[in-house]
Amino acid sequence: MDFMPAIVAFCCENSAFRAADTAGAKQEGYPSNIKICRLPCSGKLEINYILRAFEEGADGVFIFACHPDSCKFLKGNVRAQKRVEHTGALLEKIGIKKERLRFFYLSELEWTKFLDLVQQGNESIKGLGPCPTKVKV
């Protein structure tokens, strides 16, 4: 059977969460293996949320933040991006490819782009195979 990755997408509720909602309502190829986690702002993203997602079995974690200069709370997106970079470096050090963690900017209106991004992201995680943390010990 084809490997279907488990993906957690942390979405800012002011942009990507609404785009995901629209994409879902349009029923135009929304991948069923993406679990959406709603954040009040991408700045609420904690390093630990990402690690916990991997602990709970994610093969990939995507973060969606508002475009630069469009954050409702001014700098939440900048902070989220810094945390994602920091976490990517940490993941590499513990043997998890940083490509499993992706960061995207998106606006509320870009629901087709949301679909494109998750589909492309999905393919790239499929290419990486199951996360090595899932190997049974």
Partner: protein, 222 residues
């Protein structure tokens, strides 16, 4: 407060070695405020360790907890029930916390997850600076409240040296010259005459030169 910084994760993983039941212990005081060893950092480290061991195919149990202060035996006592079935304790406290745990749990290995760096304060979010070296004989009254021991690169007591330029220290132009700061502050306080008083050679026996230090207050002893 005491400023500390987390060690590289690879160093912490190496310290774990063959241990299989681990407790990661945070401290709610200084290291929480300097964002290196509080509950949040404990959660991150514990999670990262669990993932790292899974990748390595090792079965290691990693638990986590955070106590009020690792530098007081009464708080460290509260670890008893969680620590008793572990084979390694990882302290995310400063060096004092690690040692307090080592003294309390004499037969359990404890290792440091942090490098304890200095006594200081956050200058702004994410940036910490040194302010005191605990020399044991404070001279801040004579220096406008600016410490020449910790903030002058040469710990001069009658500075500045000849290298101060445009208010910056000669060893690095990103460091303020402490004696320039002292001059500016004393001028603002209208107390420049303080600079005319020559400070004698410092008695370093109150500092580390006197060996490990101890303070006793008979009135407080029970």
């Amino acid at each position: 407060m005491i400023i500390a910084e987390q060690k590289e994760i690879s160093e912490i993983i190496n310290m774990v070695g063959d241990h299989r039941k681990i407790l990661v212990i945070g401290c709610d005081t200084c290291v929480t405020v300097c964002l290196s060893g509080g509950a949040k950092e404990v959660a991150i480290l514990a999670s990262a360790l669990r993932l790292a061991f899974r990748v390595q195919g090792k079965q290691v149990e990693v638990n986590e907890t955070t106590i009020e202060r690792q530098c007081e035996i009464e708080f460290v006592d509260s670890l008893e029930s969680m620590a008793k079935d572990k084979d390694l304790l990882i302290s995310m406290g400063c060096g004092i916390g690690v040692q307090t745990i080592a003294e309390r749990f004499f037969h359990l290995p404890v290792v440091p997850a942090l490098n304890t760096k200095f006594l200081g304060l956050p200058e702004k979010q994410g940036v910490w600076v040194e302010r005191c070296q605990a020399c044991g004989q404070c001279v801040l009254d004579k220096t406008g409240g600016i410490c020449p021991i910790s903030r002058c690169s040469k710990s001069l007591l009658n500075g500045p040296c000849g290298g101060s330029q445009n208010g910056k220290c000669e060893i690095n132009d990103e460091i303020d010259c402490a004696w320039h700061l002292i001059y500016e502050r004393l001028k603002a306080l209208n107390r420049l005459e303080c600079l005319e008083e020559i400070m004698p050679v410092k008695d370093w026996s109150t500092s580390r030169d006197g060996g490990p230090r101890k303070m006793i207050r008979e009135d407080m002893c029970l």
